[in-house]
Assembly symmetry: C2
């Protein structure tokens, strides 16, 4: 049986796509921070505890990158994605701490075919990443370009 593949036509308004889950380790938090965001609360447990974040906490850019992988594994790898022009907004609502398990979902907000690029449509998503307590740690909206199934079939 072939895996289901998602084309533009499958992204109906309101449809929900689960993200893969992700255990966040101290080692990963520190490794990412050392390369991209070496602020003390992302590098050191004691500095994290002393900060308003309350513990060794992932850089917001690390959380965003982990979200990307959770989305890829959850559904994007099986879609006709052609990439994204950007992020409409992204909010870091709660600290992501070492030992947290993240999960979440992408919800279709709206979609429209692109006049400028025949065969491609733009799908706008609300993404929500939660921790194991059900608290939203990060949320944001971004549009992703998707090939139309119709275009795929005409090309075949």
């Amino acid at each position: 049986m072939m895996e289901e593949r998602y084309f533009f036509e499958d992204f109906a308004e309101g449809r929900v796509f689960p993200l893969a889950t992700k255990l966040v380790t101290a080692e990963e938090i520190i490794e990412f921070a050392a390369e991209f965001d070496p602020q003390p609360m992302h590098l050191d447990e004691a500095a994290g505890k002393a900060s308003i974040l309350g513990g060794l906490s992932a850089s917001g850019w690390h959380t965003a990158s982990m979200f990307m992988r959770m989305m890829f594994d959850g559904w994007l790898s099986r879609s006709s994605s052609e990439g994204s022009p950007g992020i409409e907004f992204m909010q870091w609502k709660k600290p992501v701490l070492a030992g947290d398990t993240l999960s979440g979902r992408s919800t279709v907000l709206e979609s429209r075919p692109l006049r400028s690029r025949p065969g491609i449509g733009l799908v706008k998503f609300l993404h929500e990443v939660e921790n194991q307590h059900g608290e939203v740690a990060m949320r944001g909206e971004n549009p992703i370009m998707m090939r139309l199934r119709e275009a795929q079939e005409n090309a075949a």
Copy 2:
């Protein structure tokens, strides 16, 4: 001589803070993609050439993470930053290809003290990341919380 430190009061509207420069290597593009965004155009030169990106290209989340480090090294590490609640928007305008050298700037758009957190103000920045051809590869806005110098001096 002590390095200059930037407090809330130093972020006057229109003031420009240069980002550090960054050479983007193929190895780094592939390493980030393998962990966070394993789409073919971020993992493989031939797949990148075949895509609309025109070459082995960094994940947009990688560019955002590199930007964070360029900001840290450029000026944020010498500021009174207390972190950020999120991103207002982020646009990926041009592919970031292996061999590109990135530079850029953060420009203060506006600032205001926070009523809810005495001693802290919110500074909104426009961030621009350019390649070696002077093309804007990524741009976005985000607010960063900064301690007031006044609060620092009262506490001392």
